[in-house]
């Protein structure tokens, strides 16, 4: 799959290119700012765009705004945002609407290459990858009554679920069996009055919608 990268730090950009190539992506363009990224999008129509939040010229949230443009103009392109800080508001912007093929991770997650490659493939395949930090921020914000009904373990499962993990991934993360995870999820969906759904990303969609960003 073709990919483009927008990251103003040259060092990190080189690293990102290597990681993406290791993961089997074909990096067709690497740019240092959002404007050049959008031009590259127009030219290459890649399947995946990886971009930094803070880029020239303003060094604020250019990446988030570029990501929104990409979501709107090229809805088939998966978008992975990288940020030095994960802040819930950026995620809320990014996730408003369709959550398919969206990722939002801390930059330092790139260093855990295998996990990062896993997240890259998930996003490129139409899934979701949200940083655990942002998920807990989202949960905190909307800690309304239904969430209070969850047990701590169910909350853990919900967090991992919202970050885009599959049942197997959740089971691995919490060191429990997959059937236990399935049971927890059924219980959560019941407590949150959510209809049962099949596909993984639909679960995330449901969770996020419940959280008020979807």
């Amino acid at each position: 799959m073709r990919a483009v990268i927008a990251e103003d730090s040259v060092l990190l950009r080189i690293g990102l290119v290597k990681v993406l190539e290791t993961a089997g992506f074909d990096v067709v363009a690497e740019t240092g700012d959002a404007e050049a990224l959008l031009a590259a999008m127009e030219e290459h129509r890649p399947g995946l765009a990886v971009l930094d939040v803070r880029m020239p010229p303003g060094f604020t949230d250019e990446g988030v705004r570029a990501a929104l443009v990409i979501r709107k103009q090229w809805p088939d392109t998966a978008v992975l945002l990288l940020s030095q800080y994960v802040e819930e508001r950026y995620a809320a912007d990014l996730l408003s609407g369709d959550t398919r093929g969206v990722g939002y991770l801390l930059k330092e997650r790139v260093a855990d290459v295998e996990e990062f490659i896993d997240a890259l493939r998930r996003v490129a395949g139409g899934g979701t990858a949200l940083d655990p930090q942002v998920v807990s921020q989202l949960l905190l914000r909307r800690h309304s009554d239904p969430l209070d009904r969850l047990t701590p373990r169910e909350r853990d499962v919900l967090e991992l679920m919202a970050s885009g993990r599959s049942n197997a991934g959740i089971a691995e993360g919490l060191v429990v069996s997959e059937s236990a995870v399935a049971k927890h999820i059924n219980s959560i969906l019941a407590k949150l009055d959510l209809p049962k759904a099949d596909a993984d990303h639909r679960r995330v969609l449901a969770v996020l919608r419940f959280l008020g960003v979807g």
Binding site: D8, S9, L11, L12, I14, G15, L16, K18, V19, T22, R54, F59, T60, D61, Q84, Y85, E87, E88, R89, K107, E108, V110, A111, D112, V113, E114, F116, I117, Q133, S136, Q137, L140, R141, H143
Partner: protein, 400 residues
């Protein structure tokens, strides 16, 4: 012949002082003459009418106060090069007092001094008169050399005294005018306080801007390099599978340390100035703090628009520090943060359900917090009875 300095000194600038006093006398007597206007044509004779006429003319003088004050300022500037500071108000009883009392008295002294100048000058030059006048009009006695000598000496002493008096009166007049026509002590203090407040605000803003600059430098410099190093080490871990075990361990170790350094640097940078605060404001930045706090935090931010960056930064650090205190000392189960604007005040309230007993004078972060709030003229109060709950209330001024 050189005149000894002690003898010469009173005469330095004495001429200028005399002219200054003469002009002052003209202005003052001119002003006082206004009081005499009702009597030009006979005038009132009954006591009550006299008082009424005086009161009216005093009122007229009072009304002319700004003009008189300007005239006096011009006189000081022209003859002495002294700038009387402009008062905050163009009219005050202090100014009227100068024009009606202090000024005329000094002018009277000036007139007497000028008279002394004249008399002393005549006496000192008695020999000239004696020889210059026609013989039949010459005063009979001054012909005696002894009396003329006495008179000359007395005249010289008179000149010396007049010079000394002129300078003393000028000093007195300058003091009185500065004191009465310039700004009052309260006005001077008020102005000074304004200046100090402005310069402090400047310092606070500058410190805030500096934190931001450091944050940017770290963010775009050291942090990026560390991340890129960690990425390269991570790649090495993944791609270099056939390395000896020892080399793998070294890479592992370096990778972990790089990630820890990133996390530490991240916390440091966030403590300096959180990037999200600048980008998205208080609500977004505070939700970040609330999330990182290891206990449930309810957060309500009710702001229609964003306060000034410095106020935002103080509010952010108030919440950050207060929550850190809750975690460290309060043994609380939950905390609540409320931020709202009430008119020109940004109200920040942090509540916890802990054990209370927080001492704002103790070594905790509370003292530093109070100082930080004071730096933008905010107020800080804490209610923390033993047994709880603790409520920290901060009010920060922000233009509505």
């Amino acid at each position: 012949m050189r005149i000894p300095i002690p003898l010469r000194r009173p005469f330095d600038g004495a001429g200028r002082a005399a002219v200054f006093l003469a002009v002052g006398g003209l202005v003052q007597f001119g002003a006082l003459a206004v009081l005499a206007v009702p009597w030009l044509d006979g005038g009132p004779t009954r006591a009550t009418s006299c008082l009424l006429a005086l009161a009216v003319m005093t009122g007229v003088l009072g009304a002319a106060c700004p003009v008189l004050t300007r005239a006096q300022r011009a006189r000081f500037r022209a003859w002495l090069g002294v700038e009387i500071p402009v008062a905050g108000r163009s009219w005050s009883w202090r100014q009227v007092g100068y024009h009606l009392v202090a000024g005329p008295l000094i002018a009277l002294g000036g007139a007497l001094t000028l008279l002394l100048w004249a008399a002393a000058a005549v006496a000192a030059t008695v020999y000239v008169w004696v020889w210059a006048l026609p013989p039949d009009t010459r005063p009979a006695q001054v012909g005696y050399a002894v009396q003329a000598a006495y008179l000359t000496v007395a005249g010289l002493a008179g000149l010396y005294g007049a010079a000394w008096l002129s300078r003393a009166l000028v000093r007195l007049d300058t003091r009185a005018a500065t004191d009465r026509l310039g700004p009052s002590r309260a006005e001077v203090l008020e102005q000074r306080v304004e200046e100090v407040a402005a310069s402090r605000a400047g310092v606070v803003d500058a410190a805030d801007a500096e934190r931001r600059r450091i944050e940017r430098d770290l963010h775009d410099g050291a942090q990026q390099r560390l991340v890129s190093m960690a990425v390269n080490l991570g790649l090495a871990k993944v791609t270099l599978k056939d390395l000896p075990e020892e080399a793998r361990q070294v890479i592992d170790e370096a990778h972990r340390e790089a990630k820890e350094a990133i996390a530490e640097l991240g916390n440091l940078v966030r403590g300096l100035h959180p990037a999200v605060l600048e980008d998205r404001g208080l609500d977004a930045a505070l939700s970040g703090i609330a999330e990182r706090t290891p206990l449930p935090v309810g957060l309500t931010v009710d702001l229609a628009d964003r306060p000034a960056p410095t106020v935002e930064a103080v509010a952010y650090f108030v919440v950050s520090e207060a929550l850190a205190n809750v975690v460290k000392h309060a043994r609380a189960n939950r905390a609540d943060v409320r931020v709202e604007r009430r008119g020109g005040i940004l109200l920040v309230v942090v509540t916890d359900d802990g054990v209370g007993g927080a001492d704002p004078t103790g070594g905790s972060g509370l003292a530093g917090l109070a100082k930080r709030v004071a730096s933008v003229d905010g107020t800080f109060s804490i209610s923390s009875p033993v047994g709880g709950p603790t409520v920290v209330t901060v009010e920060l001024p922000c233009a509505p």
